[in-house]
């Protein structure tokens, strides 16, 4: 039996020290009527056989390696430098527990402290926690935190309709109707001016995504003043996070809480998870923050060291009065994101962000030249843009797939007015040759 070290002699000796004659005797508290059911599972296989089974499953997939990929919409096909999986899969990181015992967890703790510091720099915020499950749950926790900052007095959450639809759905699962009112996105065309008008003394926060789900850079001039003027908090979903290699950080334009999907920072696509919930805030709100925080301190000999801190916010201390129920988070993915930021560094992150930007603008210009296709963004964009297509996006994508091209996101699924609009995403992984191939394929499909 794999992974079980006991010999028959071990078992006999152990049973005799326990003072029982069989293992079955240890289970006498289990009701006999339900004890030891025969599990109807396939019988055990060897390592060779399970790998063969998984390779066969993999053959039923088409991985992004088979395509020219132009799909983003919350999950991004960025390059992962080899050093990251190599180092993150070291057993000392991979098989360590949550660093509750700081003396034997300084590696994890210091790495997370560095992650917090780099995300703070990237977002322009003061404090960063050790992660949430993903961008969507980070956003939901930010809304809860905003309500808590108002000590529960403000119970209206204003959300822009240009936030990732799955994030808004997650928010509504987290905050069922009788606890708060979630509003702002009933009108899917609502812009920032419309949202500003909805601010009032009930509003706990306004949540926007920038660049928004449609790829556009929001005109945030004066937004924080308006939000703060109403006594509310400004929450910014900074997706896609790579954009902050180039763009102004939300801290610069007055955000109180910044959340994001950290997947682009070295995590790979993984069919949607594990990803990384980035969560940052202004210092004045740190004691209302959910999640774990690593802080710097000294040991009894005065040496620098790191600990989990401000734990009275957390469930294992405060139980039902905690700021969140979160316990296990995405520690290893946070470690990898920290590695990614350190490896790319000051100039590398800027270079990747600019490359995404230039590729997207080249692709947009080429597609816009095609008969029947039009780039319809109403504002500057980063690496995703909207294309009005001559046929429904689903049809177009099926045709592109035939050409080994993974087309963009069908916006009409979530925004009925965006008829035949495709959200196309470019990253540093897209070569000019791929872009030209997409343009050619789109041109040939035009007559469908």
């Amino acid at each position: 039996m794999p992974y079980l070290p006991h010999t028959e002699a071990d078992r006999r000796e152990m049973l005799s020290i326990i003072g029982v004659s069989s293992v079955e005797e240890l289970f006498q508290d289990v009701p006999t009527s339900h004890r030891c059911p025969e599990l109807q599972l396939p019988k055990a296989v060897s390592e060779m056989e399970i790998l063969d089974e998984l390779y066969a499953m993999a053959l039923k997939n088409s991985s992004t390696g088979c395509f020219a990929t132009f799909l983003g919409a919350g999950a991004y096909n960025h390059f992962v430098p080899s050093v990251i999986p190599q180092l993150a899969s070291r057993g000392e990181f991979l098989t360590a527990y949550t660093p509750y015992q700081p003396e034997v967890s300084q590696g994890t703790l210091q790495a997370i402290f560095e992650y917090q510091s780099m995300i703070a720099a990237l977002t322009g915020m003061d404090v960063v926690n050790a992660s949430h499950y993903d961008g969507a749950t980070s956003m939901a926790e930010a809304a809860i935190m905003a309500v808590n900052v108002s000590r529960g007095k403000r119970r209206k959450i204003l959300v822009s309709p240009c936030i990732h639809p799955q994030y808004r759905q997650t928010l509504r699962t987290y905050l069922p109707g009788d606890q708060v009112t979630i509003t702002g996105d009933e009108n899917l065309r609502a812009g920032l001016e419309d949202l500003k008008e909805m601010l009032d003394d009930e509003t706990a926060c306004l949540i926007i995504q920038n660049p928004n789900f449609l790829g556009e850079l929001m005109d945030v001039e004066g937004l924080a003043n308006a939000v703060h003027g109403a006594g509310a908090l400004l929450v910014v979903v900074a997706n896609p996070l790579i954009s902050l290699g180039l763009l102004k950080p939300p801290g610069d334009y007055g955000a109180d809480i910044v959340v994001a999907e950290g997947q682009p920072l070295g995590a790979g696509l993984n069919f949607g998870g594990p990803y990384l919930g980035v969560f940052a805030a202004r210092e004045e709100y740190v004691r209302r923050m959910p999640g774990r925080l690593v802080g710097e301190t000294t040991d009894t000999q005065g040496r620098r060291g790191y600990v989990l801190t401000l734990t009275p916010r957390e469930q294992h201390i405060r139980r039902e009065k905690a700021t969140s129920n979160i316990c296990t988070n995405q520690g290893l993915v946070a470690l990898m994101a920290g590695m990614y930021l350190a490896y790319m560094g000051k100039s590398g992150l800027r270079a990747v962000a600019e490359m995404c930007y230039h590729k997207a603008h080249y692709a947009a210009a080429e597609i816009d030249k095609l008969d029947g296709y039009r780039v319809v963004n109403s504002a500057p964009f980063f690496n995703e843009f909207r294309v009005k297509c001559p046929v429904p996006v689903a049809e177009l994508n099926a045709a592109l797939l035939e050409e080994s091209i993974l087309g963009g996101y069908d916006l009409q699924q979530d925004y009925p007015h965006a008829e035949n609009e495709m959200l196309i995403c470019l990253t540093e992984m897209n070569t000019r040759q791929q872009i030209d191939r997409l343009v050619t394929a789109l041109a040939s499909v035009q007559g469908v």
Binding site: M1, P2, R11, M14, L15, I18, G19, V23, L26, D29, H34, L41, A44, I50, Y55, A56, M57, A58, K60, N61, S62, E92, L94, Y97, E103, S105, Q106, Q110, A111, E114, V128, S131, A136, H164, T173, L246, F271, G273, P274, Y275, L293, G295, E296, T297, D299, V307, T309, S324, I326, T328, G331, M339, L341, Y343, G345, G348, L349, H358, K359, L401
Partner: protein
Amino acid sequence: MTRQPEPLIFELSSPGRTAFTLPELDVPQASLPEGHVRDDLNLPEVSELEFVRHYTRLSQKNYAIDTVYYPLGSCTMKYNPKVNEKAASIEGLSQVHPLQPEASVQGSLELMYNLQEALKEISGFAGVSLQPAAGAHGEFAGVLIMRAYHESRGDFKRTKVLIPDSAHGTNPASSAMSGFSVVEIPSDERGNVDLDALKSECDDTVVGLMLTNPNTLGLFEENVLEVCDTIHGCGGLVYGDGANLNALLGIARPGDLGFDVLHFNLHKTFTTPHGGGGPGSGPVGVSQRLAPFLPGPIAAKAGDHYTLMMPEQSIGRLKAFYGNYGMFIRAYTYIRMMGPTGLRAVAEHAVLNANYLKAKVAPHFPIAVERTCMHEFVAHGDVSGTDIRALDVAKRLIDYGFHPPTNYFPLIVHDALMIEPTETESKETLDAFAEALAQIAEEARRDPELVHSAPHTAPVTRLDEVTAARKPVLCYKG
């Protein structure tokens, strides 16, 4: 472990140094968006070799399952098979976008479907959603499912969740997040739920009971059938915290015992690595009547085609996409390699190891409730006749090359040391651990200062947590 201090990555930085490479830009440059471009970005600048050494040296400041024994109660720190990592990195399974057309992800959906089916069979439930990303997320899902079930029946008066005093802190926190109040139920002297106290709280305002079984004392709830009947009798539901499922694999199925909903911890029971705090994975399983309320989307099979579907009365989605899929690959690999016989052997050996270690530890540290335990047990960690407390013992174990057990939990046992050996540890390791505890008890009497000031061999000694909290330094300030 390395004891050399390691600078912060920022302190290794030199202006102009780089590690990354990128292809040349092969498209024309576009003009950057005016007014939107940032001025500065304070990230480190290091070479690749410095980078590799930095993270390698950091890793050497950790204890981990791969290096030491980790008897952490309720955390199930068992061996994480290396084949799992290989499986999860198979490119055809991992380099897949979550929004690809279904026809191009049939392999991934088949794997999710097979894992759902396996978890259903192991737990005795009718439905499973893999979406929750961790145990607490699964708990939250479970409480929302109970709420949705009651509301679907027009029953809006149920507002309180009953939680035994031995429960994990996430149970009350998850209930509070769902808008419910929490009523604590005491344990009796045998470590079971106090049935009289339970019955006195049972009325038509009960949402349900959150029960960990085996509980955090490592004891199987002796009255489990009656407890479930009692809750069902007042119209409530029974939630199972699956953190301790390792003891029950092939031994008992929570669904058969009367549980209505349960979360699994793939990162405990099913060997996905803990990663220094995550990612975990917390699928939720439910009985037939709760299946329509599962969070989604979940994988389904139509003929020989796999698809994603939203259960008809779903509580909604709990995160973007489908869950921590990378963990699904690992857990599935493990379940297939163990098979039904192997899974039962896992539980049997986990329980054998715990009872063996309990017998070896008991002469030195009294056991909180003396009964046959399941996969873990709780001892009092103070040494009588000395001022040595559980914390001191825990820290001194580090010097013997062991990770400390969970301590000061469960809250109902003073100076608790909660010890879970897991099935993957050999008799020799358990003997060495018991011997270390015996030595520490001896040291406590002979040289208490040695124990008080432990650890002595770790990269740092005990850390000043009070100052860390009073004057928080949460970021490098340059």
